[in-house]
């Protein structure tokens, strides 16, 4: 196993179950609210017209056959700004990376129970990894590398039984690394370049948050 450790770890997929959708365009409204938070110098979000019935014809948005947003591709678009709680309205969020998005990761993302992949790497996110991510029951790919995240890796994430790829390298995380659940599979490069991260959890011997 060791030599196969690959660089990235992967992932999470969760689907968020929404409260009974009040307006069918709640996803469009959520995305439009997101757009208002973001600065978009190259106008990649120009097609995001909130007056349309749903956001399925917007560029960088992919819907399934039921007109639910399943994919959001905002990578490499020079987009900056912050994410807001309204993203919890989306069912299958992926690909939000290599931009200049700052602020904290909204804890509401943990409601996305159908989310399979969450890529927030290569931004300027700060604050902690939300404990609510333990609610991302479908998550398979979770890449949070190359941000400014702090705090410890929430032990709650060990409940993500489908997690296959997990990457938090190049952040400022601290404490020890969980060993239960899917965390038995991830190799060291997943955690590289977190100066205050102290190796695998030593249950009972060292506090979980050692060094935080």
């Amino acid at each position: 196993m060791a030599p196969l450790s690959v660089i990235s770890l992967s992932l999470c997929f969760l689907l968020p179950l929404l409260s009974p959708a009040i307006s069918t365009n709640s996803e469009g409204n959520a995305l439009h609210a997101l757009r208002r938070r973001l600065s978009d110098p190259t106008n990649v979000l120009q097609s995001w017209d909130p007056t349309l019935v749903n956001p399925c014809t917007w560029f960088h948005v992919t819907c399934d056959s039921n007109n639910h947003v399943i994919r959001l591709d905002l990578g490499n678009s020079n987009i900056s700004g912050t994410l807001g709680p309204e993203l919890a309205q989306l069912q299958h969020l992926q690909e939000l990376y290599k931009n200049d998005i700052s602020g904290e990761i909204p804890k509401e993302l943990g409601n996305l129970k159908n989310l399979v992949g969450l890529d927030l790497y290569g931004n300027r996110f700060e604050g902690e990894i939300p404990k609510s991510f333990s609610g991302l029951k479908s998550l398979r790919f979770l890449r949070l590398n190359n941000n400014n995240l702090t705090g410890s890796i929430p032990r709650e994430l060990t409940a993500l039984s489908n997690l296959k790829v997990f990457d938090v390298s190049n952040n400022d995380l601290c404490g020890t690394i969980p060993v239960d659940g899917p965390f038995g599979m991830f190799s060291m490069p997943s955690y590289a370049n977190n100066m205050r991260l102290n190796g695998p959890e030593l249950k009972g011997l060292v506090p979980y948050n050692f060094g935080c």
Binding site: S10, S23, T24, E95
Partner: protein, 979 residues
Amino acid sequence: MDSTQISRFSLFITVFSCILAFSFGDNSSSTDAHWLLRIKSKLVDPAGVLESWSLRAHICSWNGLTCSHDEAFVIALNLSASTLSGSIPTELWNLVSLQTLDLSLNLITGSIPPEIGRLRNLRTLILFANNLSGKIPTEIGLLKKLQVLRIGDNMLAAQIPPSIGNLTELRVLGLAYCQLNGSIPAEIGNLKNLVFLDLQHNSLSGFIPAEIHNCEELQNFAASNNMLDGEIPASIGKLKSLQILNLANNSLSGSIPPEISGLSNLQYLNLLGNRLNGEIPWELNHLVQLQKLDLSSNNLSGTINLLNIHLQNLQVVVFSNNALTGSIPSNFCLKNSNLQQLFLAQNKLSGGFPLGLLNCSSLQQLDLSNNNLEGELPPTIDKLEKLTDLLLNNNSFNGSLPPEIGNMSNLENLYLFDNMITGSIPVEIGKLQSLSTIYLYDNQMSGSIPMELTNCASLTAIDFFGNHFSGSIPETIGKLKDLVLLQLRQNDLSGPIPPSLGYCKKLQQLALADNKLSGSLPATFRFLSQLSTITLYNNSFEGPLPDSLYSLRNLKIINFSHNKFSGTILPLTGSNSLTALDLTNNSFSGSIPSRLAISTNLGRLRLANNLLNGSIPSELGRLKELIFLDLSFNNLTGEVPSQLSTCQKLQHLLLNDNHFTGKMPSWLGSLHDLGELHLSSNNFQGQVPAELGNCSRLLKLSLHSNNLSGQIPHEIGQLTSLNVLNLQRNNLSGSIPPTIQQCKKLYELRLSENLLSGPIPSEIGKLTELQVILDLSRNLLSGEIPSSLGDLLKLERLNLSFNRLGGELPSSLGQLTSLVMLNLSNNHLRGQLSSTFSGFPPTSFSGNDKLCGPPLTSCMDSAGHENNLLSSTAVVWIIVAIVFTSTVICLLMIYIMLRMWCNMREVLISNSSEGGGNGIEQIKREDQERWMYGDEKKRKGEYWRVMSSMALVPSQNHDDHISSSCIFQVKMDTKKLGI
């Protein structure tokens, strides 16, 4: 007085003496006549107001002039609202006897000249509402007798001259609606007689001067819509006469000074749109004269502690858009309150509906929207019998709508949207004869829409969007003759549209989408001549459209998608103002009407998933505003008309799943805004046009399932925004162009089922965003799998099956931890699979030459026992492998036996003196002795190494007869054989 002023003054004396000399022997009014006639000649007077200015009439009878009692002097010139233009004539400065000059409401241009300082007798100077520019001359301070100065509503810029403080007689100062900047001069405090000060709508900045408190007579101080900052000076509380204080829309900060309670005569206080924080001071309860109070759009916090009990004259209270918390005091209102308007929207008020408000019996407008209020609406709400506007939207009210609401006979606007109200609409609603707007959207209401609602004869707007209303639309809906908006989207309504709806002749917007409505459209719809938006999508409407819909000439937006309409779409083409037409997923048939091209503003045309036939009318090329053209999933034929190349704004072009023929048009490359191009599942022939490389904004390009041939153009690499590329199921040949590496944003790449040959370019490994799939299967690709594919760390599906790929599987592929699906079957691959692949089914690798390791058989085992799990090709392969292996082993054994035989012979020969006896123990003993004595130590090591390696050879005979040297040789051989 400085030297310039002295010199100007002496100049003035000189001029004045000259005038006296010139007019010697004449009276002064005739001198004035001379100047006035020259003034007349300089002004442009299209309305002829100066026609009476003539020497034939006495000067005192001239229009706009007032003479002194003795008719010796002109003392007033009033030419207000006379459409005069031109600049202020210099001759005016000679009318030194003027006490009043009013040129307001004209079109006079130019600046106010410094010479105005000559009119020292002026008491009233009114120049407002002209086009005067430049600055206010300092010399205005010379007009010491001035009582009224109104020069606002011009384009005057620069600062207010401090000399204005010299005008100590001034009672009225109006400088509003100019472009004045700088700060309010502190000298304003010198104006002890000032009653009226209006500085609104300028660009004044800085603090409000504390000296303002010296203007003890001030009754009206308005400085709204400037950029004033700092705090409101506490000294402002000394302006005992103040009745109106308007500082709205500035940048004032800090808290509201409690001293403001000293303004005992204040009737109007407006501080909206500043940055004031802190609580609303309780001391405001002392402003007993207060009638109108607006503190909205600040950062005020705390609870509301103002009480109508104290402020009995209050008529209007506006606290909207602050951060006020708590609930409204229960004793807020008196029974005899005069409060008419109470706006508390957009705060953080909590608790239930404030019952204290029910005593505000004179209340006409109540806005509690956008707060955190909850609980049920009180049945006693009908105590607010004068209420015309009830805005409770965006709260958390629950429970049902009380029937007593039917008693609020003055109610015009009822906004309850975005709450959690349940239950049905009470039939009593029908009593509301004044009701004009009812917005109940985004609640949880249910039941049927009561027919009584159609008794509300004044209704203009109904919005019930997003509830659970069921049953049918009331048949009597046609009684609502003034209805403009009917929004019933997203409910559970069923049944047909009542024909009477066609009699709501003022209807402009009709939204019935997302229900369970059925039947066909009534022919009465032809009367809806004002209709501009009609959305019926996601219902079960059926049948052909009434031909008479053709007469609806004002339609702009039509969305009938996801119904069962049939027949021709021609009746929807009567309007030439269409901006969006969406008929997706119906059963419309016939051809696409060329008449659609008359709506030159059409931006979205979506006719997908119908039964349309014929070809695309070339007239559609006239739709220069077209952004979205979706004709997919129809039976369209013919070539795509080249006229579409003039639709330069096209971003989405979806023509897939039709029967289009001909070459794929090269003019597609001229559509530079194209983001999505789907031409798949047609009968397009010829090559993929290289010009497509010019569509650099393309995100999705899908040309699969056509008859395209030739090579993939290397210009494909110019599509640097591309996310999805699907060319599968064509006859494309040649190699995959390495330029594809420039499509760095690709997350889905499908080139399968073509005739592509040559190796997989290693550059594909640079497409590190590939995630959904990389599918190169069913081509003629050869060579080895490039190890660079191991860089595709996000890839979830990889299909390289049914090619001619050979060589070993690059170890780098083991890095692909994101892989969910992998198919490398039916190639010529060989070698050992990395353990990362053990989770994939054997079918992922079957049909190759020599692959082994989990999930295939171990590279050490014969694969026989897994036959039943394998495909027939795999079986053949395995049999070949078994025969081959067996042969090798037999040969090996023969070789070993031969060697043993020859060694045995040597041993026998060399040991013949000790007898041939039963060798094993003897040899062992002999060896042990030799090693014990230090002889042949080197050999000992070799022996054990060889033994351990031999143990791995499956069919190895442990023959203890063999000597160490002989075994050693066998080991070397087995290595060479690669077992």
